[in-house]
């Protein structure tokens, strides 16, 4: 007989609740340790204010998309096509600028394209009842091909606008911003998402669906509608990431962001989300995304070769998942 069948006295419960605290802090402690490690070894190059800015900028694209991915993974889903979706919006923005649209229109329509792409995934997942893994394996290729078709298989380079400055250091007179405006956008969106997940009925229903979809349906949660919303928001954030990617590249490249989906999913998982749903935090995701940037940046500052960096990142992903297994499960 397992012990779960027995009455557990209240003392042991509060004990286990205390044990949850380090679990949420886990990725953050990891980030601090890794940062401290590199800072100790390369305090001049790594620990400088300018390098910190560089790292934040490097995290912005993956971080923005990972916010949406957190929502998708909490609901028990996955989106493998997020990299393709970033490329698609990046190209849409460039194309619109090239034909003379106002930058704000290009940004809005680019994000709308991402949102529509996500909504399409949500509709297929809920209406045709296919596994999100399969649906997004399909859209992974489809969105990429759409981006290539849109850009006529070449790179679009429109004239620079303010969009190109989203990820550059704030100029004279804007020093008070400390970090580029694109980074602020990601931070503000993260705060909004935290509030949505914690305080809105929609947010709690996303957790409920990921935790036990049948129960959610039985209790009258609009499972289909909620899931479509989840993927649409995921697409919207991929759109934000696409705009930032365009800003970073200064051009619409249909082959950009290939393989980003894995970095984005890894950020969410390092942040403590469970791929089987019901678990995950926005803060954890941001820390996960930052951790990967810090490792890559720190390794290069130490003069390590690229393959070493990739290996270290791989080890960290597995380590994070292993630590996650050790913490008290709510199952």
């Amino acid at each position: 007989m397992t012990n779960t069948l027995e009455y557990s006295p209240p003392q042991s419960r509060s004990g286990s609740r205390r044990a949850m605290l380090p679990a949420q802090l886990g990725p953050l402690i990891g980030l601090l340790l890794v940062t401290g490690f590199f800072a100790a070894l390369r305090h001049k190059t790594f620990a400088s204010a300018s390098n910190l800015q560089v790292m934040l900028t490097q995290t912005a694209v993956v971080g923005a998309a990972a916010l949406g991915m957190t929502l998708i993974i909490i609901s028990g889903g996955i989106d493998l096509s997020v990299g393709s979706c970033i490329a698609l919006t990046c190209v849409v923005v460039a194309k619109l600028l090239e034909i003379g649209a106002a930058p704000i229109v290009a940004v809005a329509l680019g994000m709308a394209a991402g949102c529509l792409a996500g909504m399409l995934i949500g509709v297929i997942v809920t209406q045709i009842r296919l596994a999100p893994f399969i649906v997004t394996l399909g859209t992974w290729g489809a969105f990429r091909s759409l981006a290539k078709g849109f850009a006529d298989e070449s790179t679009i380079t429109p004239d620079p606008t303010w969009i190109n400055d989203l990820l550059t250091r704030p100029g004279e007179g804007h020093r008070w911003m400390l970090v580029p405006p694109g980074v602020w956008v990601v931070i503000i969106l993260a705060v909004v998402m935290m509030a949505v997940l914690r305080y809105t009925r929609f947010g709690r229903h996303v957790f409920a669906i990921g935790s036990n979809e049948q129960t959610a349906r039985l209790c009258g949660v609009g499972v289909g509608r909620t899931k479509i919303m989840v993927y649409a928001i995921g697409g919207l954030f991929a759109g934000v990431a696409g705009v930032l990617q365009y800003s970073y590249l200064g051009q619409g490249d249909p082959t950009t962001a290939a393989g980003y989906e894995l970095d984005i999913i890894a950020a969410v998982v390092i942040g403590g989300a469970s791929l089987s749903g019901g678990q995950g935090t926005i803060l954890g995701t941001l820390v996960g995304a930052m951790l990967m940037t810090v490792v890559a940046n720190g390794c290069s500052k130490l003069g390590m070769r690229n393959w070493v960096q990739e290996g270290v990142t791989g080890v960290i992903i597995i380590l994070a998942a292993a630590i996650d297994r050790m913490r008290p499960s709510s199952r």
């Binding site: 779960t4 069948l5 027995e6 419960r13 009925r201 957790f207 935790s211 019901g278």
Partner: protein
């Protein structure tokens, strides 16, 4: 009926019929429950209880027949629709979202909000009221539901049913995984809810419970209502004979048999926590029972013998073999085990019956036709009710699933059978068939080690019984030299709370 004839009953189901293909799952069922009444619904697995409950809860639509709630026609289109009309179900498999808090689970789908924002204050108040109605205001509202014990999770479901204002509450085998003290709490709660005017349908295999908690009972057999009446004063044997349609005098067959040589010898075996230094000797042609409370370490003992759990000290000898243990080695030595948790551990539910049967020694290239032919004699011998051996085993009723799990050991020709709670949560008919097979196996010289929490079963089936208490195993006694009181006394030891699953 206690009500005057002018007041319609809370729930009436009349002449309900439902066919699946060629088989009639429900073939004219009538039940009635009044407000403030507990109706026990009994019947073997496959008698139609779960189909009837699915019709009631809106998961299936009946082909024929009518239902009425408080005199108004009731035809739910979905489980959600049924809940809105006030019919709540609590299934054996609890349906909570384990990651969400207790409070969120109680109010899932009906969260109080201001615009899109959840009103946590009102949520807290409503959830606390629900828990108070379920008799457990001390359960912390913020705790993730997955951290509660099974008994507490069940109460959270009751709190949910109360919070949505249910009129009819259906409890499907609610005690199958509860300790005895929790069962008593549950019964007290049922009486309180009844006093508040709920109509309660109580589905159970345990006739002792039916007698303890219900006013009336209805018996289903082969999709029909075959009997019923007031529970008080009706002997269990009479209900059983209605359920199976024949008299069950020898529910527990035990042929005369001579024990042979020792095939399994356990010497001072100790696991990481439990067992603590257990010794026993199991002979051919013998059924050896292990009694005890939940958490006494009986399952852990079987797992340690079978090589599933690490062993700290001690030894296990199977025939002449004394080396290290692993489940694969044990199977090769002719030892087979049936897990207490057939859904999580015992069976691969989505695989076919034939594949499950052959899983312990699947050929490198299994041909479905050969698997079917190999499986059929065993399925026949255990009387498994199935459409085809290629059907997923998860489609079968609990009793038939358990028979497949046992048939695997027969198919493997296991000489030593470790059976952990083989009859838990299954119907009387399937139980009788499993007892018959255990007897046949022992007569043909196999050795059976049987862990059970159900004392009549142990006393009826075993040759010798030993009692486990807090990780240690007491002396083995011949079944004629012991009785329920003695076993209970040994099982409780000096523990303050008796927690026997069922006596």
């Amino acid at each position: 009926m206690t009500d005057s004839p002018t007041i319609p009953p809370r729930l009436r189901m009349q002449d309900i019929r439902k066919r699946f293909g060629a088989t009639a799952a429900l073939d004219g069922v009538d039940i009635e429950v009044a407000s403030g009444e507990v109706l026990a619904l009994v019947g073997e697995n496959g008698a139609g209880k779960s189909t009837l409950m699915k019709v009631l809860s809106g998961a299936h639509a009946a082909d024929q027949g009518s239902m009425a709630l408080d005199g108004e026609p009731y035809a739910p289109r979905s489980p959600l629709d049924a809940r809105r009309r006030g019919v709540a179900m609590i299934y054996q498999e609890l349906s909570l979202a384990p990651h969400l808090s207790v409070m969120e689970n109680i109010l899932l789908g009906m969260e109080p909000t201001r615009g899109p924002i959840i009103d946590w204050k009102r949520m807290r108040e409503k959830a606390a009221a629900g828990l108070a109605a379920a008799g457990r205001p001390d359960i912390p509202l913020n705790l993730p539901a997955g951290r509660l014990s099974i008994a507490e999770q069940q109460l959270v479901e009751v709190a949910r049913a109360v919070a949505i204002g249910s009129r009819v509450l259906v409890l499907d085998e609610p005690t199958s995984s509860l300790a005895r003290t929790d069962v008593e709490h549950l019964f007290a709660l049922i009486r309180r809810l009844r006093a508040e005017g709920l109509a309660i349908v109580y589905v159970s295999h345990f006739l002792e419970e039916v007698q303890a908690v219900s006013e009336r009972f209805t018996v289903l057999r082969d999709g029909k209502t075959v009997g019923g009446g007031m529970t008080a004063g009706v002997p269990a044997a009479q209900i059983i004979s209605m359920m199976v349609g024949r008299d069950v005098e020898d529910l527990y067959p035990r042929s005369r048999r001579e024990p042979g040589e020792v095939v399994l010898e356990v010497n001072h075996l100790a696991g990481l926590n439990e067992p603590q230094s257990v010794s026993l000797a199991l002979r051919r042609g013998e059924v050896f029972g292990i009694a005890g409370l939940m958490g006494a370490g009986r399952t852990e003992l079987l797992r340690a013998i079978f090589g599933l759990d690490p062993v700290r000290s001690g030894s296990v000898r199977v025939a002449s073999y004394t080396g290290p243990a692993s489940p694969a080695r044990r199977w090769n030595q002719g030892v087979g085990m049936v897990s207490e948790d057939r859904k999580a551990e015992g069976l691969a539910l989505s695989m076919s019956i034939a594949e499950n049967l052959a899983l312990s020694h699947l050929p490198a290239i299994p041909s479905p036709a050969r698997l079917d032919t190999a499986a059929e004699p065993w399925l026949g011998r255990l009387n498994v009710r199935l459409r085809s051996p290629r059907q997923p085993v998860g489609d079968l009723s609990g009793g038939n699933q358990q028979k497949v799990a046992i048939a695997r050991l027969l198919h493997h020709d296991a000489q030593v059978l470790l059976l952990d709670e083989p009859t838990r949560g299954i119907d009387v008919g399937s139980k009788a068939e499993i007892y018959r097979v255990i007897d046949e196996l022992a007569c043909s010289g196999k050795a059976v080690l049987l862990v059970s929490s159900y004392l009549p079963e142990l006393l009826g089936v075993c040759d010798r019984i030993a009692v486990m208490c807090r990780g240690t195993l007491g002396p083995a006694r011949r079944v004629c030299e012991t009785d329920e009181h003695r076993i209970m006394a040994e099982a409780i030891g000096s523990a303050p709370l008796p927690q026997l699953h069922s006596i």
